[in-house]
Every structure is written in C-alpha cells, then in structure tokens.
Symmetry: C2
Subunit: 415 residues, 2 copies
C-alpha cells in the first residue's frame, strides 16, 4: 500500500425541481422532512453536476474542488455523506494494475473530489441537489458499495434534502419515512424519463437585487413560526401526493398542472406566513404566473404549469413542444433581452424550441405580437437574465471516458 | 306634503384598517364573514367621507353623487342599505318650519345623497368602508332611526363588509355572529380613540402598474379554492382575536405589532394559496416590510407594525411620535420623491411628524443617512406615490354647520 496509484470514478447527476414541494424538516440533523415530495428530474444535458472522486494511498487528507476552487469538507453535510459511504465500502480490485483495496482499508484512505456544474451555481437552480447526489453516487461506485439508488438516496439526503430525488430520472417521490433513524426517508422512482416524454421545460432565470433567505434557514423559521405549515404538511400534502402520482402515471396534464401550480403557490404562502415573512418571488415572478394563468384560462385547458423554488426563477413545464414554442414567444414578448445581449446567450439549452417558435434573431423578438389574451401588454426588458429550454431527463450515470474526468489520473489533482 | 321643502343631514365618517383581517364570506348576500376581525379607525381629519342626505317631497327618485359625479343607486349594496334604514324610519318633525314626516311617509319619499372622500378614491384606502358607513349613519339620522351604532353597523355591513367597523372610533371588533339572518354580525368598540393615543400611523401609497383583483372577487375565489383559509378562519383567527383585544386593552405594543404583522402576512398567504393566486403586495411592499422587520429586530423591541389590505399600500403603525419620526426618515431615505414632486405634496396629513424628523425640504431628504441596520441600502425613487401621516381617530359625527353640506338646502342638488 505504499505505491502512488490513483483509482478514479466520474459520474454525472441531474438536478431536479419539486412539483409537490419539500418545505420543513422534522429532524434538522438527519434532514427528515415534514411531508413527502415529488420532483421531475431535469435533463442532465442542460443542467447537471459532474463529479470525479479519486482515492490514492498518497493522499494525505480528504479534499474537494467545486468548479475549480478548493472548498472545505469540514461541514457536517459533507462529513455525513463521506462517513455513510465509507461505512458501506467493499473490496475493490484492479487486477490489471495489481491494485487491491480491502473493505477495512477505506477507513484509512483519503479521497479527492472535483465537482463541476454545467450551469451557474448562483442562479438558484438546485445545484446542491445535483452536487450531493453526484458526490454520494460517485463515492459509492468508487468504494464498490452494494446499495441501490434508493438506499444511496437516503445518504445523499443527509447532504441536502432534495439531493435524494436526484438519484433517479423521470418523476421521483421522496417518501418522508417514519422511523427515527431516517433510514426509510428515501427516494423512489414514480416513472422513468421515457414515460412522459413530450413535456418541455423552460426555466426563466430572473434578475434579482435581493439576497434571498437560504432554504435551510427559511424552512427552519417556517417550522418554528408558521401556523399554516403543519396543516399543509399533515392534511393537504398527503392527498396531493396521491393525486400527483395518479396524474403522472396517466399523463393527465390538466391535473398535473393544477397540482403543480397550487403546490408551488402554497409553499410560497407558508413562506409568507413565516415570521418574519419570506418572499422568494418578486414582481417578475408574479408577472410570469399571470402570463401563464391568463393563457391557460383563455385556452380552456392548461398548456403550461409553473413552479418556483426558494428564489424568483420560474420553472415552466409545457404540455408539449407546440405549447412550449408558444410559451417561449409569449415569454420573449414580455421579457425581451437587454439591447447588449445576444439571442444565443439569452435562450440556452435546447435551441430547437426557439426554431419551433420561428425566432432566429433579436429582430424576430422585437417583432413578436402581444399575446392576444392580454390587453395593453407591457414589455419588461432586462427583467429576465436568460432562459434555459430543457426536458425531463435521466438519473445518474457513470462516465467511462477518462477524458471527462475532472482529476488527473496521475496526480489525483484537478486537471 | 305638496310643498318643496328640503330636510338635510350631513355626517362625517372615518375609514378603518383591519389589524386582524376580514377575508372570506360565509354568506355572499348578507355579507357575513368567516371570522371576526379587529380594526383601528383612522383620524377623519386626514381620511374620511362626508355625506349629505336630503329628503324632499319634490324629489322624483333616489339619486346619488359621489365626488361630484352622479352614480347609479341600482346596485344591491345601496338598495340593501336604503331598504333597511327606511324600515327603521320614525316620525320627524321640524316645528320651526312646520314640517312633519310621519313614519309611514318614508316609504314614498325619495332621498338625494352626496358623498365626498377627502382622499383619492382610487388609492385603495378603503373608501367604500367609510362611504357605506357614512351613508347609513346619515340616513339613520335623517330618518330618525332609533338604532345605536352597533345596530347601524349591521346595516352598513350589507353595503360593504368592512364598513361596519367605521361606525366607531378607536379600535373596533366586527363580531362574525351566528344567526342566519346576520343580525348579530355587527361591530362593537373595543376601546375608544383616547385609550391609546400615542400611536402614529403612516400610510405609504405605493405606485402600481397592476390592476388588482377586487376584494369581493378575491375573497370569493379564496373561499372557493384555498385549502388554508378554513384552517385560518376556524383555528387561528379566534385565538388571535382574544390576544389582540388583550394587547390593545393593555397598550402592549410588542404583542400588538407581532399580531398585526403576522395576520397581515397570513391574509396575503391565503391570497397566494388561492387558484389562480392573488398578489396584492409588490416588490415595494416587500421592501417596506423588510425595512420595518430589520429595524424592529435591530432595536430588539418592535417600533412599528405593518399591515396591507387588498393592494400594495402599506399602513404602518408606530409605537409613538419618536418612532414615527424615525420611521419617516427611513421611508424617505428608501423612497425619495421623484424630482418633479414637492415635499409638501409627498408627505400629507399631520406634517408635524415631518418636523419631528427634522425634514424641511427635499434637500433634507437627499441628505438622509442610510439606516444603520441595513448595509448597502439602495434608494427607490418614485416607487411610493405619497405618504399620509395620521393617527387613530373618532367615529361618525354629524356636521351641524350647514356650510359643510354637499347639497343645496333650497334645491337638494349638489352645491
């Protein structure tokens, strides 16, 4: 064991957005929620975390780099994940290179971790969910842990609650569980990403001057002060979870949209019922909701669902490509880019939706007609930073191509 | 009865702002609420309705003028009030002029009504509350109805729910009542306006581009769709009403402020939990809340309470004149007037608060230091239309000076 070999694993894990919201912990330390939640996994092509984990007898300590910058691993959340995976490590053998790590060696070996988000960390797009899911998944593979993804999700949960839902593609349920040690508080797949593959997701990253309350602090204050939260968690969410699973299984978009919007609004309602009140949505968020609500009502059946997490960004789920193209037209009408912004850097992700919408350049954006369902529609230039077009996507995968690794196979340091 | 005499009465009635909110009717027709509410009456010197009602055998029909413009009386709300007061009319005699109207004559006689608000009707400052209270109070005096103000409040309630609370000064409770005909759904005074006379009220009239949902429509939709409203009405408000009455009786500002802010936020939370969601507060409202919350926390004990009705305007209740002067400094720092606005038309009402704050002109506003409790405090010029400084005030009064009448004593038409 005195050699200087490095063994590495690289994994890619998606982010996810809840359609029935997680807000409030019943156990702060184990990160156990007050209700079940359901999420849709976003296509990792557009939004994902890539993590390389490496082990070598030459590493003096556990180290981590996030987006190229070294960060501390001393926080309890990282320590929880490292401890739990180490406890499940098994024998690993690389016969070709003549390397053998036995189960008990893992306690003494140190790891290097490098993680990279293919989207701005600060944009408020659940980077910690994808990050902890990827860390746990990659470490589990490196250490040859035999646990399935649900069992791994209960570990990722101890890094960041919503991370447990990033262990699967498609639609995912986080079961709150009952037992005190949290072992049954884990994620299960509701349906995979192929089940409902005509959905299109457009994310509006909203400009904000405000510094938001962190979700950890926010949900603690809601649990401590909101008189509405317990009623929501105990009486309302359990019924919604059953209805949402039905809607997803039946691809019933009307019910799906109704439940998604209502639950997003109720989550923000309990934030407002917190003392002091928490505002995550701003006037731009409100305008996006109003745009969607008016359109849905003018058509008669829902075309688009909206949901907002702990920030002003809108996640809009369109029934199909046609609805998505129409939605993008409306959004670009209301929220054209600043004059110094190019279309190419204003609409990111799956640009084919832009083509479907008949928009090739900024002149097409300028020429968009006002949505007929709204009279005197004003335009709010610059109120959205950019849009990302994406779709429901797959769960975690291992990347076998070594060129995608973020650590050098020789030194175990960032490339 | 063929003569052309005119008998007139002029009354002045205050507006009021709820500190425990009314939101949701259990009976739309009788306007019966789903919970009790408590309000503070605002000083009529700054915000009131003046109404003159006249009767003459020469009037061919009931007519009404609001702020000088004739409006229709055919609406059910006006008809309810007219019918209920007529049913309680008694003999009226003016011996000097030799006029006698007997109880039964009132059914055949027509009335003229002229009403005037000393504040902008469109500002969203509960003009209908003061208006219906004044209409009912003035008609009752004209027709010599023997009912006390609580009994009259049950009639005003049928014009506009919150109008019932404008029949008293000080702090007022609207008891939701139990009986089906609504006769016990009426207002009672908690304490008069002298009981807690060091409170100062500053209203921020917030500029808004949005057209708001009317409160009638909004509360109907909340009753029909919010899953949180019934829990609020049945489980939360009854306890808050008891606590609020205690706080007011004991002049316990800390409890008063906590309950006022929490209940305003919860009312807006149930609006957000409505489908489609209702947003009355905007980014400016949120910034005012944040300003107050941060200040209150930095001092350690609440200096100011905030409450918002069905619109973005903030009603801020300061503990005393000193707190009010400090509050006004902070508000003018964050929300200075547009450069074309004069201070005199930007801070209305009791201008002595401005003097206490050491502000004499716009240069003083420009020179205000940023509040120390906030770092990097930005200024939002033009986001507030104007401020009104006022205080808790008295209930309805009769104006005996004929020069204050809005109708001509000869013709019974607007002066």
């Amino acid at each position: 064991m005195a050699e200087s070999w490095v063994i590495m694993v690289t994994a890619q894990t998606p982010t996810n957005i809840a359609v029935i919201k997680y807000w409030g912990k019943r156990d702060e330390k184990l990160i156990l929620p007050v209700n079940d939640s359901i999420s849709v996994t976003l296509d990792p092509v557009h939004l994902c975390t890539t993590t390389t984990v490496a082990v070598s007898p030459s590493f003096a300590q556990d180290r981590m780099w996030l987006n190229g910058k070294e960060i501390s691993l001393s926080g309890g959340r990282y320590q929880n994940c490292l401890r739990e995976i180490r406890a499940r490590a098994c024998d690993v053998e690389d016969k070709e290179r003549g390397i053998k790590i036995s189960k008990k060696d893992w306690e003494k070996l140190h790891v290097h971790i490098a993680s990279y988000n293919n989207f701005p960390t600060a944009a408020g797009l659940a980077s910690s969910a994808a990050g902890f899911a990827c860390l746990v998944f990659a470490l589990a593979k490196l250490m040859n842990a035999k646990e399935d993804n649900s069992e791994l999700s209960a570990i990722a949960r101890q890094g960041s609650g919503s991370a447990c839902r990033s262990l699967f593609g498609g639609f995912v349920k986080w079961k709150m569980g009952k037992v005190e040690d949290g072992s049954d508080s884990l994620a299960v797949q509701v349906v995979d990403e192929k089940h409902w593959d005509d959905l299109v997701i457009i994310i509006a990253v909203v400009s904000s001057r405000q510094k938001e309350t962190s979700s950890t602090t926010g949900m603690r204050e809601t649990v401590e002060t909101s008189l509405l939260l317990q009623h929501r968690a105990k009486e309302i969410v359990p019924k919604r979870i059953i209805q949402m699973e039905e809607a997803i299984k039946n691809r019933d978009f009307a019910s799906f949209a109704h439940l998604t919007c209502a639950d997003s609004n109720q989550f923000h309602a309990v934030c407002l019922d917190t003392c002091p009140p928490i505002f995550y949505m701003n006037d731009t968020s409100h305008r996006i909701i109003s745009c969607v609500e008016k359109w849905n009502r003018s058509v008669g059946t829902p075309q688009v669902a909206y949901t907002f997490d702990a920030g002003p960004n809108a996640v809009l789920i369109a029934h199909n490509r046609k609805a998505a193209a129409q939605l993008l037209q409306k959004l670009l009408f209301y929220f054209p880019p600043n004059s110094d912004t190019e279309l190419n850097s204003y609409v990111l992700g799956d640009k084919s939706i832009l083509k479907d919408a008949g928009i090739e350049d900024l002149k097409d954006v300028e020429a968009l007609p006002p949505p007929p369902e709204i009279k005197d529609a004003p335009r709010y230039k610059g109120d959205v930073s950019y849009f990302i077009c994406t779709r429901p996507g797959r769960g975690p995968v291992l990347l076998s191509d070594e060129s995608q690794a973020l650590l050098s196979p020789e030194t175990g340091l960032p490339k």
